[in-house]
Symmetry: C2
Subunit: 427 residues, 2 copies
C-alpha cells in the first residue's frame, strides 16, 4: 500500500478518485447485443452465450425440478449456513417494512402513502470462478418480502454447463419464480425486451462487470429501472491504536481478493498502525489462494495518516466508501458523522465478511462514490410508493380557493375550473 502522511486538501481529490470506467469501449458491443436480442430473441441469446461464455446450454430455462431438489446436493454444513444467513437477512429486511403514512391534512382532506411491490423484477448474478449464491439471498429475499409476483433470476452456467447447486438451492429458498442460465449483456437485454423464453421485467437488480453495468444503463432507455450503476468493490477502514492490526489486514485483504480493480484504503490517526498493518498484510497475503489478485489490488491501495480526526472524517465523507469499517476509540463520532457510505462495520469484531454473508444487512451496495446519492439494495428497492387522497365536499370548500389562486397564477385555467365547478355545487 502506498503511504500518504497528512495529505494536503489539494491532494484529496486524487486520493479519493476511482479508476474511471469508460463505457465508450463497451457500448458498441452492448448496442449490438441489445439489437440482436430485440429482433432475434432466444436465437441471439444462444449465439452470444456461445460467443461470450464459451458454452450454450441445451435449454435456457432451468426447470424447477432441478432447483427444488438442490438441497440434496449440498453438505449439511453449507445448507445449514445458507439457512442461517437466510433467517438473518430475512429478519433485517422484514423490519424495513414501513407503515402506511396517513395524514388528515385539514378538515376533509385526507392524504396517504402506501407502497406496492414492483410486479416483475429481474435479478442478475454474475458467473466467474465461484458460485455467488450469497447474492441470490441478498436480492431475492427482499423481493420475496415485498411480494413481487415475478422474480426472474439470470446467471451464466459454469463451464460444465450447469448452475451450481448452492445457487439453485438459494433460488428455491427465496421464492425465485424462474431461473435462466444466461449471463452477460444478453441476459440484461433479454430482461429488457423479453424473448420467447425469458420475460421482460420492470426493474433489474444485481452486480456485474463493466459490460453488465453498461447494459443495465442502456436498459434504462427502454422503460426499465435499475438498482444502481455498479463498479469495482471497495473498502475503507478507519483505525487508531484501539484497532487490531491483524484484523485490519485481514479485512483489507478480504476486499483485495475480489478483483485486481478492487479499492482498499486504510485511514489512520495512529502512525504506527500503517507499519503494523502492512507487516500483517505481508504475512497473511502469502497463504491466500487468490494472492495474485489481492497483490494487484494492493498496488493501487492507499494507507493515509491524518493527525486530525476531523480531517479523517471529512476525507472519508468525500470518498464515500461502499464498505466502511470503524475501529476507533472515538467510534461514536465516526458513526454519527458519516454522511456517505454504503454499509458501516463498527468495532474489532465486525468484519466486512459478516455483512457480505450472514449478519442480515445487504451486500449490494453503491460503489465508486455513489454512496453520496444511492442507497444499497434494501426492501424499498422492490416497492414503489403511491400517494392517495380523498377530499370531502367540506374539504374542497376550504381548500378549493387556495388551488384556484395558484392555478390562475400559473396560467392553468382548466386546473382552476376543475375546482370552481365543484365549488359552485358545495357553496
Amino acid at each position: 500500500m502506498k503511504q500518504f502522511i497528512n495529505p494536503s486538501k489539494t491532494q484529496w481529490q486524487a486520493l479519493q478518485a476511482r479508476p474511471t470506467a469508460s463505457y465508450e469501449d463497451v457500448m458498441p458491443v452492448v448496442d449490438a447485443v441489445f439489437s440482436a436480442v430485440q429482433t432475434e430473441g432466444d436465437k441471439a441469446i444462444r449465439l452470444y452465450s456461445t460467443q461470450f461464455d464459451g458454452y450454450c446450454p441445451e435449454y435456457i430455462e432451468v426447470p424447477k425440478s432441478e432447483w427444488e431438489t438442490a438441497a440434496d446436493e449440498l453438505t449439511p454444513e453449507l445448507k445449514g449456513a445458507i439457512d442461517h444467513a437466510y433467517q438473518n437477512i430475512y429478519r433485517f429486511h422484514k423490519a424495513q417494512i414501513t407503515p402506511h403514512v396517513k395524514v388528515d391534512i385539514q378538515n376533509g382532506v385526507r392524504c396517504w402513502q402506501e407502497k406496492r411491490p414492483i410486479e416483475k423484477v429481474g435479478l442478475y448474478i454474475p458467473g466467474g470462478t465461484a458460485p455467488l449464491f450469497s447474492s441470490v439471498l441478498m436480492l431475492a429475499i427482499p423481493a420475496q418480502i415485498a411480494g413481487c409476483k415475478e422474480v426472474v433470476l439470470c446467471t451464466p452456467p459454469d463451464k460444465s454447463g450447469t448452475i451450481a447447486a448452492p445457487i439453485r438451492y438459494a433460488a428455491a429458498l427465496c421464492g425465485v419464480t424462474r431461473l435462466f442460465q444466461v449471463g452477460g449483456i444478453q441476459a440484461i437485454a433479454a430482461l429488457t425486451y423479453g424473448t420467447e423464453t425469458i420475460p421482460n421485467v420492470y426493474k433489474i437488480l444485481g452486480p456485474g462487470n463493466q459490460y453488465v453495468t453498461a447494459a443495465k444503463q442502456k436498459a434504462t432507455q427502454f422503460g426499465v429501472a435499475i438498482d444502481m450503476p455498479a463498479g469495482p468493490s471497495e473498502l475503507l477502514v478507519v483505525a487508531d491504536d484501539t484497532a487490531n492490526p491483524a484484523y485490519v489486514a485481514a479485512d483489507l485483504l478480504s476486499q483485495a481478493e475480489h478483483g485486481v480493480d478492487s479499492q482498499v484504503i486504510l485511514v489512520s490517526t495512529f502512525s504506527k498502525l500503517l507499519v503494523s498493518v502492512q507487516q500483517e498484510i505481508d504475512i497473511q497475503l502469502d497463504v491466500l489462494p487468490r494472492k495474485d489478485i489481492a497483490k494487484a489490488a494492493l498496488v493501487n491501495s492507499k494507507a493515509i495518516l491524518f493527525d486530525d480526526e476531523a480531517d479523517a472524517m471529512r476525507f472519508i465523507n468525500g470518498y464515500g466508501p461502499e464498505h466502511y469499517i470503524i475501529c476507533m476509540k472515538n467510534e461514536d463520532t465516526f458513526v454519527k458523522d458519516i454522511q456517505n457510505a454504503g454499509s458501516v462495520f463498527i468495532g474489532n469484531y465486525t468484519p466486512e465478511s459478516a455483512g457480505d454473508y450472514a449478519s442480515g444487512t445487504n451486500h449490494t451496495l453503491p460503489t465508486n462514490g455513489y454512496a453520496k446519492q444511492y442507497s444499497g439494495v434494501n426492501l424499498d428497492s422492490f416497492f414503489k410508493a403511491i400517494t392517495f387522497q380523498k377530499i370531502s365536499s367540506k374539504g374542497i370548500k376550504d381548500l378549493g380557493p387556495v388551488i384556484e389562486e395558484m392555478a390562475a397564477a400559473e396560467g392553468l385555467q382548466a386546473h382552476k375550473n376543475a375546482v370552481s365547478i365543484r365549488l359552485k355545487d358545495v357553496t
Copy 2:
C-alpha cells in the same frame, strides 16, 4: 375522444401505449452542450442561454436580495395560497420520516439502517408561458425536511430576463440555498459538471421537456442520480354512474391543457357516461384560454367502456397512469387493487388539481408507465439509506462459522480468514 367499447385484450397494448419519445434526434444536441459546458463552463452557459432561450441574463446567479424580498411583489391572496400549500405539503412529507430500523439479529449481532440526506441536490423548474412555482414547493420542501445542505435551483428566466416573483418567493420559503437563472440542457450539464458559478450536485430532480429528460439521462453517466425519466403528463379517470360528468370533463381538460402531447383516458363501466362526458368537454373546452392545446391533446385521447370491472382494473394496471381518479361506487376495490399509479384521487370532490397544488401530496410523478417501477418524488428521494452493524466477541463466535462456511463455498478464502483470525482469539 376516440371511443372503444369492450376492447379485446389483443388491443390493450396499443391502447396503453404512449407516443414513443425518441432520444436519438435529441442526443447530438445534448452531447454537444454537455461537452461545451464541461470544457468552457459559464461561457458555454451564456452561449446556449442566448441560443436556446433567446436571452442571456447579465448574471447567472440570482442574488439572495432579489428573492428574499419577493414576498412584497405578490398579492396577499397569492402569498396566502402559497403559504397554505406550503404547510400542507410540508406536513405530508414530514410524516414520511421513517424511524431508524434497529434489529438485534442474534445475540451480539446488532444491525440497523439510518437515512442520511443527500448533501447536494439540484432542482430543475422548466420555463414556459407561466411560472411553475408549485414545482418549487414540490421539490424544495422535501429537500428542506430531509436536511440537504445545498439545494440548488435552476430555472430559465422569462422573456424579460427575470425569474418570476412567485418562484423567487417559493425558493426563499423552502430553504433553497442558491438560485440560477439557467434552463434547458445547459442547466443539467452545469449541475453535472459544475462551472465557475454553478456547483455540481449529487442528484438532479424535476420535470422538463424531452431535451431536459435526455440531458438528465446523460447526467447519470457522470455519477449523478436523477429522480426519474419524465414524459408528457397523463391522467386516467375510472368512473361509473356515481360520477358527475361535468367534474370528470373538467378533470380531463385540466390534464389536456398541459400540452398537446398530454395523455387523457376515461375508463368507464357505464356507457352513458362516455356520451355525457364528451358533451361536457365540448361545453367547457370552448371557454378555455389554452383550448387549442387541450383540443390537440384530446385528439389522441381515449374513452373506453368495459362491462367488466375486473377488466377495467386490469387495463388500468397495465397502463400505469401518472394520475388516477376513481369515481366508482365500488371505489374501495379500485383503490385496493391498483398496483401501478403515481397518485390516486378518490371520489367526486377530489380533483387532480388538489394534488397538483395544495393537498399535500407531491406532483412530481412517474409518467409513461414508469409507475410500474418508480415512485413519485417523496421524502426518501432526498435521502439514502445506510446500514450499520456492530458485532461483539460473543456475536462473532456464534455467527462466525456460518460466514466461514459460506465464504469457503464461494472460494473467497480471505473473506473466511477475516472471520477465522477473530475466532482464534475469542474461542
